[in-house]
Symmetry: C2
Subunit: 377 residues, 2 copies
């Protein structure tokens, strides 16, 4: 049987590693490079799924960790899977849950970076061993064991098009030996995840997760590990450095080791600064909650820079955020009105701002794809 | 020049005072009887104005008090008026701001009823005299003088189709003499408001506010006062009693004193229990934030009763709130999914629930109009 997944390379830039392609999935095509918004709880924040479909969001990211805790992946399976449950027609990707479990332990990436790895919130993670990781639900305090197999089973219940193997997430501040041990365990966990996935492919494909922290040699080895197994694509995880510049340097070194015949995905990165440099380095898709989070904080993206809508300067701005923008928000409302909704803490503010920023991202990625095709990137 | 406003009586029930009509306004027709949702800050909560238009909400209520405080009625005037500012195509009604000022003094209606009038939050209201009421802005502490003239001017800035004269709102617990003094002052304020309005009608119409508290004799006099002045309709304000039953009794007594050739409006009432009895007593329109507030608390209206969506009973309910409902929410999502969104505190929950309850109200009112026309009410 032919796989319902394939990666079609349309154009490889001659100026950079940037490329234009199409990922074919059972729920339709993902044009690459593309931005992937994060809908943690089976919805984007402040934008419902049916509307998300109309925005042209071709791939959306949901978090297995949150869905295990609520409403439970079995319930979603009984609903007919995640697509049916949330009424999404287009492709979905879920992660393994591992990132959130280890984030609970170390705090957020930024917190960990700031505390230089000294602060550990150990009480939520009860035990990590070769089998998996035992953690406490933040909802009801119940212990939950996440193993490569249980993570894959949870993702089978969900039924997203693209799934991710369980990895161990070492913090940025880790000694060489600990990084290596974690790296080795991650590969064993990824292999177990892939084996579990292959037992019942279920119209899903599994991307590997490339690890190795900020060690270029380990990153190279991780690419080789992934390339030698029948993964459907390559996700890039773990800490890539403290700054944008460190991340770009690491991607520059490692991207040539990823086989070009399969799609890749950069996990958790999607701020405006990162888009173009990452795409030039060969990234196909990248996910982030950045545009929707910015929107809820009143940071609105435009081609002339970001509008901080709470700024008094915009009080009498009776024009749309961007006169050229064709989104629902710009078609219907002025900056002054949106600003008023934000000042009045009206819920409509968050929806309208999120719709605009998501539309901006969709347009931005289309423009970047066109730039590659036109030989300008 | 003919007035752009008229009330067209289509059918007067022979079984009750219920009637079907049409209010013609510069922004279109309002079929009566009808429900009027409250969008305090120039938006319904969790539903944007352009979408509100598509729901078939023919009249929407905005609060002058809140709009004076933010963003200011002058800003809205500069934006081209409230319709343009919020991008609403259909009719709007604004109140005078008085209700909120006096609510600040006595607390909410329920608080006042509970405390039997003993608790007064006087510090926000600085002075009440014949000129008007001086209160402090809850936003910046600045003193604001609201007079009949300034309230009407604010409502001229806003430009809603229907406007309301400034009234003094006596609490439910008030002695006979104080009630009478307030009643007399309200009529003087209403007359001043009407005079101010007539100087520049501005494509707007002013309804009177009928007062008199729970004294049937005063209510009758207030109806007569209103009937003798060129108001465009009659709003019913002030306390009508502590219970639904007291309210229905009072309406039964007073409605015959309102001239039938103009539309009437019941201020601040619109819960499901009140709809049919009030309509039978001859009410044309009634406003309330009840359906949207219920929605945000997970109380979803259906023809088979109200669904409390957080109830564990609905965990696996993979059907719409109401299989017959044609609203966006029911067309796209199941009860189980909506419940999940509520449990996860996702903002989409509040929009989807509000859309459903508003759609329910629109349908409910259409059904009630049909029942009157069919001789069943």
């Amino acid at each position: 049987m032919t796989s319902p997944f394939s990666f079609e390379l349309i154009y490889q830039s001659k100026k950079s590693r940037a490329r234009v392609g199409r990922i074919h999935t059972p729920h339709g095509v993902i044009d690459t490079p593309n931005f992937v918004p994060v809908g943690t709880n089976a919805t984007l924040k402040a934008v419902d799924s049916a509307y998300t479909d109309t925005l042209g969001i071709q791939l959306m990211f949901c978090n297995t960790y949150h869905l295990i805790l609520h409403p439970g992946t079995e319930l979603i399976k009984n609903a007919g899977g995640l697509h049916t449950f949330m009424n999404r027609k287009q492709p979905l990707i879920t992660d393994s849950g591992g990132f959130q479990v280890f984030s609970l332990m170390y705090g957020t990436v930024n917190e960990e970076l700031k505390s230089k790895g000294k602060k550990q919130l150990k009480n939520s993670v009860l035990k990590i061993n070769e089998e998996g990781v035992l953690f406490r639900s933040y909802r009801d305090g119940n212990p939950i064991l996440l193993t490569p197999e249980s993570s894959v089973q949870a993702q089978k219940d969900l039924g997203a098009d693209i799934i991710i193997p369980l990895d161990e997430l070492p913090p940025y501040h880790v000694d060489k030996r600990a990084l290596f041990n974690s790296f080795e365990r991650t590969h064993r966990w990824e292999k177990r995840s892939l084996d579990e996935h292959m037992l019942n492919e279920n119209n899903q494909t599994m991307y590997s997760v490339v690890h190795g922290g900020v060690d270029p040699e380990l990153r190279k080895k991780s690419c080789e590990f992934a390339a030698n197994l029948p993964f459907g694509g390559y996700a890039i995880g773990g800490s890539l450095g403290k700054t944008h510049s460190e991340m770009f340097t690491m991607l520059e070194k490692m991207m040539p080791y990823l086989p070009p015949d399969k799609p890749n995905h950069l996990l958790g990165i999607g701020d405006l600064t990162s888009l173009e440099p990452c795409i030039k380095l060969g990234i196909d898709t990248m996910d982030s909650s950045h545009p929707t989070r910015c929107a809820r904080h009143g940071l609105l993206f435009t081609n002339n820079g970001t509008i901080k809508i709470l700024n008094a300067h915009y009080q009498n701005a009776f024009t749309p955020l961007d006169p050229e923008c064709t989104c629902y928000t710009c078609s219907n409302y002025t900056i002054a009105y949106l600003r008023h909704l934000f000042k009045a803490h009206e819920l409509a503010a968050y929806s309208l701002a999120s719709i605009h920023n998501l539309h901006f991202m969709v347009q931005k990625m289309a423009t970047l794809r066109a730039a590659i095709l036109n030989g300008n990137l």
